[in-house]
Amino acid sequence: MKADQVSPLFWLTFGLVSAFGSIKLGLGTFREPGPGLLAFLASSFICLMALVVLFQSLFLKRGFLNKLSTLWEGASWRRPLAIGVILIAYIFSLERGGFLLTSLIMLFIILKLVEKLSWTRTIVISLSISVGTFLLFNKILKTTLPRGLFGF
């Protein structure tokens, strides 16, 4: 499958789903637009454009025609995925573990496992970054960062 055939299909589905949602919100009339009118027009427009891109790629041979598999050629897809998963875990644990602790752990994991830095470097960098930002934002800028079960 070519890149420009997969992606418009995604957006087409997205557009259709949103169009449905907008209709449920109420379209109103042109003279008295309801909450869903603009959303519906936008969703329909998205569907239309998705069809255009699909058409261009299938019949006019124009657009981003690489095969799907080549998109990640020479690039690692594991690393972004790993970072993504780590970030999701971070967000879930942030409010329980508190900013300082969760950040420290996350940095540790990223630097050691993903970037494969040495132990010393990992420890030094994770500590300095998490403590540093903690001090900067909590003490100097006085923004409130999440405090976990441990009170900090």
Partner: protein, 498 residues
């Protein structure tokens, strides 16, 4: 003559040691805030508000104002260096600024951004002084129909942002329009697409959206590469813009200043709109539009000038009528009221020293910012030498904290991550995020304006054509559409011939 008299009054105020100090403090803090992705001037000003209780009102406003326009200077730094906007208004600077950095031209990019900001900032203060009263009358005459037509014009201009596939860019604009409807509908009080998440009732935040689409996605993209980016460090050439750079940018700066200023005056417009529109216009009038997005220095000069100019312009409705042009100005109103000063038409008569003092402080502040930022360029450029494996966790971090700090809400962080993922995939599949962001900003304004207008006109669409400003914007939009269609046809015909 009166111009200079007022200026003298203002300078006598600003050159008092206390005011000078707080002016410097304000612009300094503003620059830092602008550099840190996510933490915006709004949050900082609000936090510093209590500090202002103990100082005279003029000094307080000078401090807070300094933070605001100072942040516009700092915002470009991360945009250029690491493709992450330090401030929502610096999104556009990423497009060409980062490319310039990759080509080893980070110095000139940062330099032209600083100089452009200074020129634009100073221009906006002069314009503020010279034409504030008549200008504010014009701004007031922007009612719902005028806003609608202006937004339509903005959407048409947006099409000029497209770099590759027009259909894809338009699709992204559609997505932006759609995302802009998320939240509580002003006109009916009904929640739209909020999925029972109360934080979404106020809409998707601009900061998480922008940080995610541009910042987090950039990190994902870079992390893919197995080969590290050490190459950049070797290529850094000069630190300041060359004469050629200046020659290329001078009109961009001029146009950006003017466009940014007027868009800043209109309540609801502001720096984001200004930078986006000025970039699109630069691309439109350029003889080589294809170089935009690949490191064209005008692509940095224009939006940077526009967002600083807009910051100045936003002061007009505040100082002349007590109307906040944006959220930042609303805080300034709060600050004034705490000190017992009523913002409004009488401000100039009742507190001339405050009025002119603040204006004079903006001249001084802009100069201070230039002096502050230029030497820092050398420092920032060194930052590029830091190995990416250390740099990107730091960047991730600042984005995470920044998006959290907007509303103290973990939902914003989650949103940012979601848009980071979407942005990453979008860029891999060659969809552009910029049209999405512009449409997202325009969408709520346009929709509300449309529906308010139809209420006022009782359902008749004539209201958009009866009023001169509205009609003018719509005609301009049609004209631009026709123009771009013609050039589209020209390209197709040329292709057929080849």
């Amino acid at each position: 003559m009166e111009f200079f008299n007022n200026l003298m009054v203002g300078f006598s105020v600003i050159f008092q040691p206390l005011n000078l100090f707080f002016c410097f403090l304000g612009v300094f803090i503003g620059t830092l805030i602008g550099v840190l992705p996510g933490i915006g001037p709004v949050g900082t000003m609000a936090i510093l508000l209590p500090i202002t209780y103990g100082i005279p009102p003029t000094t307080a406003i000078i401090l807070l104002a300094g933070i605001y326009y100072g942040a516009q200077y700092g915002g470009s730094t991360t945009s250029i260096l690491v493709n992450i906007p330090g401030e929502a208004a610096s999104v556009i600077t990423c497009l060409d600024g980062y490319q310039m950095a990759l080509q080893g031209r980070a110095g000139p990019a940062l330099g032209i951004a600083a100089f452009g900001s200074f020129i634009a900032g100073t221009f906006s203060v002069i314009a503020l002084q010279a034409i504030a009263p008549p200008l504010v009358r014009v701004a007031l005459s922007f009612g719902p129909p005028e806003y609608f037509s202006l937004m339509v014009l903005g959407l048409v201009i947006l099409t000029y942002l497209a770099q590759k596939s027009m259909a894809k860019a338009l699709m992204m604009a559609g997505v932006g329009l759609l995302l802009g409807t998320v939240g509580l509908d002003t006109m009916t009080g009904q929640p739209r697409f909020a999925f029972d998440i109360p934080e979404l009732l106020d809409g998707i935040g601009l900061v998480p959206l922008v940080m995610g689409l541009f910042g987090i996605s950039e990190v994902f993209l870079n992390v893919e590469k197995v080969v590290q980016r050490e190459v950049i460090a070797a290529k850094i050439t000069r630190l300041l813009p060359s004469l050629q750079d200046w020659a290329e940018s001078k009109w961009a700066i001029a146009r950006g200043s003017v466009i940014g200023f007027f868009l800043g005056v209109i309540p609801g417009g502001g720096a984001v709109l200004g930078s986006l529109v000025s970039y699109a216009i630069e691309k439109r009038v350029s003889k080589n539009p294809e170089k935009f997005g690949k490191g064209a220095i005008e692509g940095v000069a224009a939006p940077e000038s526009a967002n600083n100019s807009a910051a100045g312009g936003a002061f007009i409705p505040l100082l002349t009528l007590g109307i906040p042009a944006n959220v930042v100005m609303a805080i300034l109103i709060g600050a004034l009221m705490i000190h017992g000063i009523t913002p409004g038409p009488m401000l100039l008569k009742e507190h001339p020293d405050l009025f002119w003092g603040v204006i004079a402080s903006m001249y001084v502040g802009n100069a201070m910012l230039l002096v502050l930022n230029l030497p820092l360029i050398g420092l920032w450029v060194q930052l590029l030498r830091v190995p990416y494996s250390i740099l990107f966790p730091l960047i991730l971090f600042f984005c995470l904290v920044g998006s959290y700090a907007v509303n103290n809400s973990i939902i914003d962080v989650a949103l940012m991550l979601l848009f980071g993922l979407i942005g990453y995939l979008m860029r891999k599949f060659e969809y552009e995020p910029a049209p999405l962001v512009l449409a997202f900003v325009l969408s709520p304004i346009m929709e509300q304006a449309l529906r308010q207008s139809l209420i006022l006109s009782g359902g008749s669409f004539g209201i958009f054509l009866n009023r001169p400003i509205s009609l003018g914007c719509l005609l301009m939009a049609i004209f631009l559409l026709v123009l771009s269609f013609i050039s589209f046809l020209k390209v197709r015909i040329k292709e057929k011939e080849d």
